[in-house]
């Protein structure tokens, strides 16, 4: 009986239920193995009968018995593995406009060089830009083991993205910038900010920066790079021979060593540790802790550096100057153009030119009219003279009204210049020989050093200096005075 039992087919299910095998032992009587019997045995073992199962069984029965001494294994069932879902993700439109331009250049033109200075590391976006897209997760498909039991597929997870009001997510997943700025993405968060923070240097890793907002630079700005912002710029390290354009203030905390190639423009104040060989225009005040060396600067506001020095260069402040030291004991030429309003004076000069030209034209026409009138009194005025005189009268009326406008504008500009100009230079420690003041068409070059505190002001129409003891002296006592001839150095 036991031997007979060994000859019965058996169903073996793999532990992971991924496969099932029908094993037919040697010596098993093939004639007894009907489809019904085998299917019944398979079903009894708990294996789901599929088309594949039936096909395998039928094929086995249809085959002539081969080697009855061997165990026959029939692969009667396979599990269908689950297809797991795909996690959602965020796809960013990373192709920066500036970068694209440079890349496109590289691809399309061998001749035009790519400016690596212009390749920005920051993704600047404008309001309304499509900056990316959230791709939803895919759900996956369940599988079945050989017993017919469902093997659950894992669902894809939603992409993790936190955004604030600076980014709008549309129902189709597109991400739209709600403001101009730079796109920041980190740790599943995204936001657009009006502030660029550069932790290191502005160099080839960042490219030039041109940003509608504020910029904070953790270290310095390397040679030949340009940083432009409509707002404030703060540089914690040294600015080298770079160009800085700040719509508002520039705070050069680590100093600015321009090496004659540093340029600065600020719509607000320029604050900092020191300036060395920098040229530019400051629309408000200059406040420097230490030195301003060999700089060429127009300052529309005042200079306030009671501990600092101005050494060399040419500085044109509109407002008051309060400084520690002017010049150096080496007698270096240090020019301070005071009582000047650089923003308005060019307009005044231009208007003076226009008014002068108009006056000349008026005079010329008046002379011509007088000649015609003289002929008229002698009864020699022809029809042509009469036509010409009408033209002259008309031209004179136009020129007269233009001249009047130019004069009135010039008066306004002059009034404003007088209102803004300040002749008040307060020096705490020393004014060295070699310092040259320029004021109202005259230069005053110090021929000796005087100690502070001392103040250079206008006393009536005279340019004087006042010592702390209250004494007032004409500057001519300590300086050589020369008239400045336009186009010639007064040095």
């Amino acid at each position: 009986m036991a031997a007979e039992q060994h000859k019965t087919p058996s169903v073996i299910i793999a532990p992971d239920k991924a496969t099932a095998t029908l094993q037919i032992p040697p010596g098993c009587e093939r004639a007894l193995l009907t489809e019904q019997l085998l299917i019944g045995q398979i079903t009894g073992a708990g294996v789901e009968v599929t088309e594949h199962t039936t096909r395998v069984i039928r094929s086995f029965i249809a085959q002539p018995p081969d080697d009855q001494d061997k165990t026959i294994s029939l692969d009667i069932a396979h599990a269908t593995p689950p297809v797991h879902g795909i996690d959602g993700k965020v796809v960013w439109n990373d192709k920066d406009k500036d970068k694209a331009t440079a890349e496109d250049h590289a691809q399309t033109s061998d001749k035009e060089p790519v400016s690596y200075y212009d390749q920005s590391a920051f993704l600047m976006v404008d309001t309304g830009d499509e900056i990316g897209r959230v791709i939803p997760p895919e759900p996956g498909e369940d599988g079945r083991d050989v017993t017919g039991k469902t093997i659950s597929a894992k669902s894809g997870k939603e992409a993790q993205l936190q955004i604030d009001e600076s980014i709008m997510r549309r129902s189709n997943g597109t991400l739209i910038a709600q403001q101009d700025g730079v796109l920041y993405r980190e740790l599943g968060k995204a936001m657009i900010r009006k502030l660029i923070q550069v932790n290191e240097f502005v160099d080839f890793s960042t490219g030039n920066i041109n940003f509608d907002g504020d910029i904070i630079i953790g270290k310095g700005v390397r040679d030949c790079f340009e940083v432009t912002a409509t707002g404030n710029i703060e540089v914690n390290g040294m600015i080298e021979a770079a160009t800085i354009n700040a719509g508002k203030d520039l705070n050069a905390k680590g100093g600015f060593a321009g090496r004659e190639r540093g340029h600065v423009f600020t719509g607000g104040c320029l604050l900092g540790k020191y300036l060395d060989n920098v040229a530019g225009h400051v629309k408000q005040d200059l406040k420097i802790d230490r030195e301003v060396i060999n700089c060429e600067l127009k300052i529309d506001g005042q200079i306030f550096s009671p501990q600092g020095s101005i050494i060399g260069g040419r500085i044109i402040p509109t407002g008051e100057v309060h400084i520690g030291t002017l010049g150096s004991d080496a007698g270096v030429l240090t020019e301070l153009v005071i009582g000047s309003v650089p923003t308005l004076e060019p307009f005044a000069f231009k208007l003076e030119d226009i008014a002068g030209q108009l006056s000349q034209d008026v005079q010329k026409l008046t002379d011509e009219k007088d000649t015609i009138d003289k002929n008229s009194t002698k009864g020699r005025m022809t029809a042509m003279d009469k036509e010409r005189e009408t033209e002259i009268i008309f031209e004179l009326s136009i020129l007269g009204s233009l001249l009047d406008k130019a004069q009135r504008t010039l008066d306004l500009v002059r009034t404003e210049i007088n209102k803004r100009r300040r002749v008040d230079v307060k020096v705490e420690r020393s004014v060295f020989y070699g310092v040259k003041f320029e004021l109202d068409g005259r230069s005053y070059k110090m021929n000796q050093t005087i100690s502070g505190p001392v103040r250079f002001v206008m006393d009536g129409k005279a340019f004087v200096y006042k010592k702390s003891d209250g004494s007032v002296q004409p500057i001519g006592q300590v300086a050589d005075v020369h008239a400045i001839i336009p186009g010639k150095s007064a040095a």
């Binding site: 009469k386 036509e387 136009i398």
Partner: protein, 122 residues
């Protein structure tokens, strides 16, 4: 108001245009002589005409006569170097409402225009 300037001198037309523009008249048409003016009055239908006397092809006086013959009633100011009284009378007889003798000032032309229009409106 539509104003037609009839003068062979472009400079003079420009002067008149300048004055009229300052006075607020912007619908202006120009003609370089009487013939040119006659060809344009039908389409432009001026409400005031400033006409020079001495012009080639057709002088101002002939133009005024022909214009009136066509039944047009718009006021005409003769702007001319002809200052003799007989000439003025001749022009007025031909149908001119007012008379400006060159050289004139912008103010004078303005006054004459105003005066003419007031007279016509009365």
């Amino acid at each position: 108001m539509k104003v037609m300037l009839v003068d062979d001198s472009k400079t003079m037309r420009n002067i008149q245009k300048g004055i009229l523009t300052q006075l607020g008249y912007t619908e202006l048409e120009e003609a370089c002589d009487g013939l040119d003016a006659l060809s344009k009055v039908g389409a432009f239908q001026p409400e005031l005409l400033l006409v020079d006397w001495n012009m080639p092809n057709m002088d101002g006086l002939t133009f005024v006569k022909k214009y009136r013959e066509q039944g047009h009633k718009s006021p005409i100011i003769m702007v001319t170097t002809e200052a003799e009284k007989s000439r003025v009378v001749e022009a007025i007889k031909a149908g001119v409402q007012n008379y400006v003798v060159k050289p004139f000032t912008p103010d004078l032309l303005g006054e004459r225009i105003k005066e003419t229009l007031e007279r016509v409106a009365a």
